[in-house]
Symmetry: C2
Subunit: 228 residues, 2 copies
């Protein structure tokens, strides 16, 4: 059975990506990170999702928080709320975390080489996304090239492939795909700034993009929001 490492935050996109990898027949090694994000709720969500979807192994890798200083997701800066769609898709937001997907994919690459996987899945999305540079196809292509130059596996002739099955999908298409694959979306967590009781804030960029996706798919979002 072919193995794949799947980056899993426990949100809508990475959860659907994990379900897709498993549906394609991969034995999935899911990988989450504890990098000092403001809330640990997403780490719990990732664990639940990995178990529910049947990942072969799930790992939470700790990353030195200070390396990522200076983002609204890792420091005391306020997460912006209730921005218009035009604001959300314009420029790079304050929730940008320096080099995050480069760090995440490099860990995935190391772990892939250790477990003997040649396939790495990441749920980046270039359509309904938040303007992060490390979610674009050219970034993914550059990482794939690097992966094959930098590893024993790559140099010896095997080929690492970075899969981005969601890259051209709208949020509504992602919601529909998840339901088609029988994913329990009540287990997922997308909010950047949840309430202490775990409910999503409904107003951050991530909540807004998620709600737009469910609305356009004509489906009820099963998670609880603080307001709606």
């Amino acid at each position: 059975m072919k193995r794949a490492v799947v980056l899993l935050s426990g949100g809508l996109d990475s959860t659907t990506t994990l379900a897709l990898a498993i549906a394609e027949g991969f034995e999935a090694y899911s990988l989450s990170f504890d990098y000092g994000q403001r809330h640990k709720i997403e780490i719990d969500a990732a664990r639940r999702v990995a178990k529910s979807l049947g990942a072969k192994e799930h790992r939470v890798a700790k990353i030195d928080n200070d390396i990522f200083g200076g983002s609204a997701l890792t420091s005391d800066v306020d997460v912006p709320k209730a921005r218009s769609e035009a604001e959300i898709i314009r420029g790079i937001p304050i929730t940008y975390v320096p080099a995050r997907n480069t760090v995440f994919l490099s860990h995935a690459l190391a772990w892939a080489e250790v477990v003997g996987a040649l396939d790495i899945f990441i749920g980046v999305n270039a359509l309904d996304y938040s303007g992060y540079p490390d979610c674009r196809p050219e970034f993914v292509a550059a990482f794939e090239k690097l992966a094959n130059l930098s590893t024993k596996t790559g140099v010896e002739g095997a080929h690492f492939k970075i899969h981005t099955p969601l890259i051209k999908m709208s949020k509504a298409e992602i919601v529909r795909k998840a339901l088609e694959l029988d994913v329990d979306l009540s287990l997922t967590h997308s909010c950047y700034d949840p309430l202490p009781d775990g409910r999503a804030c409904s107003q951050c960029d991530s909540c807004q993009l998620r709600r737009k996706g469910f609305r356009e798919a004509g489906v009820n979002d099963p998670i609880e929001y603080a307001t709606s």
Copy 2:
């Protein structure tokens, strides 16, 4: 004053690289990793070196050990000893750590963006080296390209540069350069498998390459070896 992040293991090469960055006028942010390597002696060496050379800040980032499983440097596999020079330079050795420099450089990139540095130094060497794929010029070029695609800084028009001042130098030239820059090489540590008292084993690939460098430079190595 321009800032640079410098990867520092506390060995001969990275120490000389830090001295070169400082000599070029950079304010240096040196970065070491605790990744479950078999001995912590090199982490102490890096701290001593950073202090001695006057790094502005030194950080030891912890990396999840399990991600890197399966190398003689991070697991119970024996470090090979007393290999001939031909054996050392042929193929990729058992001391290879999966995707190590990709993981290290991605952390350096994140920290560089946080501290406002555009320059990253890494002491890789393609001449007297141990056959690691992630020490080659094509790997470094691919990472530099990735760095500029994956970051806010890169996308907004500034340019990250990965400096590899040692890439074409022999070990003897590196020793001479270090002495020219008044580096105290007694503070450095290169051995893969030191004795409990901290002395270098003298027989691992890293000790052999280091000793060859000092021998060819006609200089005494100030560190203590178990045998000589």
